[in-house]
């Protein structure tokens, strides 16, 4: 195996892994304010890509308009999901909430299939230009967009949680909801904000990935699962861990597809997930021990 193809696998792994990281950030945000694992997270990613594709195809919008529009629409849907399905379930057992998010995810997927059909679609890349040669490998301009946007989101999140009162209020909800609400924080609003944010980063991930890997109504399941695997790898609840976990899974998956078998490519993330759940459930960057029964 020449070094150049090795490098190529790393490059494409990092690109795809960055979007897993964004998905993982979405999981992290909702988990941190509500303690729920949102099984509909992958559908936000799918919708980000699909809505951008169809606002160009059906709405005739140019790409620079379609992309932000799609992200905004999905963000609004995130708010809707919280208001319509999560908030009325306040105080119900966790198992019920998990079932509701599963229900929402298949409703969104089924709705996308009904409206957009079962075909696979591609979004044009964000900027023209040939691939950039890089030590024998080639770097797509879109990869630079993907990595750049992921880093920007990460920095923005860091600033948001460290510097703004809303960000701190969200973290307070994560620490102790009751105490947060006694301090005058409106927990309901914080939960809605966390759904909006996680839909936003999910949609961003979907929209920047669509030019590279194509998109269809059913890509959400796998992307969501891989995002979750990234969360566990990085330590559930830790945003930096989530992105790092995404990158690691992306690279391992890409190397595995290249060196072992492309048919089993999608299984790699889950083998990692299962192995982690067995060996180190607190994740690579998590506290020494996760909650054990």
């Amino acid at each position: 195996m020449p070094f150049s193809s090795f490098l190529q696998f790393i490059v494409s792994g990092v690109t795809v892994g960055a979007t897993y990281g964004l998905t993982a950030l979405g999981f992290t945000m909702i988990f941190n304010t509500t303690g729920i694992i949102n099984f509909a997270q992958g559908e936000f990613v799918m919708l980000g890509g699909m809505l951008a594709v169809f606002s160009m195809k059906w709405g005739g919008l140019p790409l620079p308009v379609a992309v932000p529009l799609s992200v905004l629409l999905v963000t609004a849907m995130g708010v809707g999901v919280d208001r319509l399905t999560i908030r009325p379930m306040r105080g119900k057992p966790a198992v019920s909430l998990v079932i509701v998010t599963i229900g929402v995810s298949i409703l969104l997927r089924g709705g996308a299939m009904l409206i957009f059909g079962k075909d696979t679609h591609a979004l044009p890349p964000f900027s023209e230009g040939a691939a950039i040669p890089l030590g024998g490998a080639s770097l797509l301009p879109q990869s630079i967009w993907v990595v750049g946007i992921t880093l920007a989101v990460l920095v923005a999140m860091k600033v948001f949680f460290d510097r703004t009162i809303t960000g701190k209020a969200m973290l307070a909800c994560a620490c102790d909801r009751k105490a947060a609400s006694l301090m005058g924080i409106n927990v309901d609003v914080m939960v809605t904000v966390s759904f909006a944010f996680s839909a936003l980063v999910g949609a961003l991930g979907g929209v920047i990935l669509a030019p590279i890997t194509l998109t269809a109504y059913d890509v959400g399941i796998l992307l969501g699962l891989k995002g979750f695997a990234a969360c566990i790898l990085g330590g559930l609840g830790n945003p930096f861990g989530a992105v790092a976990g995404g990158l690691i899974i992306g690279v391992l998956e890409s190397l595995g597809a290249g060196f072992l078998s492309s048919g089993y490519k999608d299984a790699i993330a889950f083998v990692i997930l299962l192995a982690l759940l067995f060996l180190r459930p607190s994740g690579l960057f998590g506290k020494a021990s996760a909650d054990r029964v």
Binding site: G35, I37, F39, T85, P88, M89, K92, P93, A94, V95, S96, V98, I99, V100, I102, G103, V104, S105, I106, L107, L108, R109, G110, G111, M113, L114, I221, L222, L225, F228, A229, I232, S261, G263, Y264, D266, A267, A269, F270, V271, L273, L274, L277, F278, P281, A290, D291, R292, V293
Partner: protein, 336 residues
Amino acid sequence: MSSNRGKGSAAGLAAFAAIIAAAPFLLPDYYQSVLIVAGLFAILSMGLNLLMGYAGQISLGHAAFYGLSAYASGILTTTFHWPVPAGIAAGVVLSGVTAALIGIPTLKLKGHYLAMGTLGFGVIVYIVFNEAVGLTAGPSGLTGIPRLSAFGKTFSTDREYYFVVWGTAFVLFVLARNLVRSRMGRALRAIHTSESAASVLGIDVARYKAFVFVLSAVYAGIAGALYAHFVTFVSPGSFSFHASIQIVTMVVLGGMASLWGAVAGAVFLTVLPEWLRAIEDYDILVYGAILVLTMRFLPGGLAEGAERARGTLVSAFRRKSPASAAAASGAEGRKP
């Protein structure tokens, strides 16, 4: 009260047995194969119901356990010419052992790691069914699986197979019912209510949960092997994530923590699509809507709905009597 309940449920079991015995003779022949499938799903959802309703955990990969056993029994009896009962036993054991491997470490963790663990496991198994072409024949499916035969008898007609499947379902129902009423069942309900309280009372929470998870996988394994030797053909499509969601929906719709509900949910959701051919392509939307709406408005599912309806009827009847009963009889007397 308790003896009353005992009598009532014995009568319920007898009625259940009578319905099972009578159904194939009352319904058109076409429904026999539908009812066989419903019986398989009833076994699946009874098992999952034990896990969801009594241990408060979700498996999103139950179709994988169903499929593992179906493929194992199919491959052993077809490629390796094992006798069918041996193939079925091997399939069921494989499902149970795999569940133990996944459940024991995952269930030690608090929260819904099992849900994600099983979801990931389901995806892996589905990929293996598709990719391990040498063993499973890949996406086109494994053909030529023999029909069930045991003790020198081959169950070749649908009616015979119907009794095999529903007989098994009945036995598994009674087993699950007894389990739920035992010390173990009480421990499980305690875990569902409060894990901390249960563990303070000396209940080994992780062990009980793992046991129920393995048991639910064994139920899935039994259904899977029976499926393989009924349709004589298995392909990966029957064991996808979609199938896992179908089973979860049956349990939720029927009512978690109600075995009757599990059976009702399975039969209802198997028969419903037969009537609504139009929704065939969009059944996934229907499942999603059922999940969200049931949890929101009828968290106890059909079982709770039936209970409520019965409560309303009983109280309406009580309010009427005795004055209204007397009035009614008087009115009757006056009629010619």
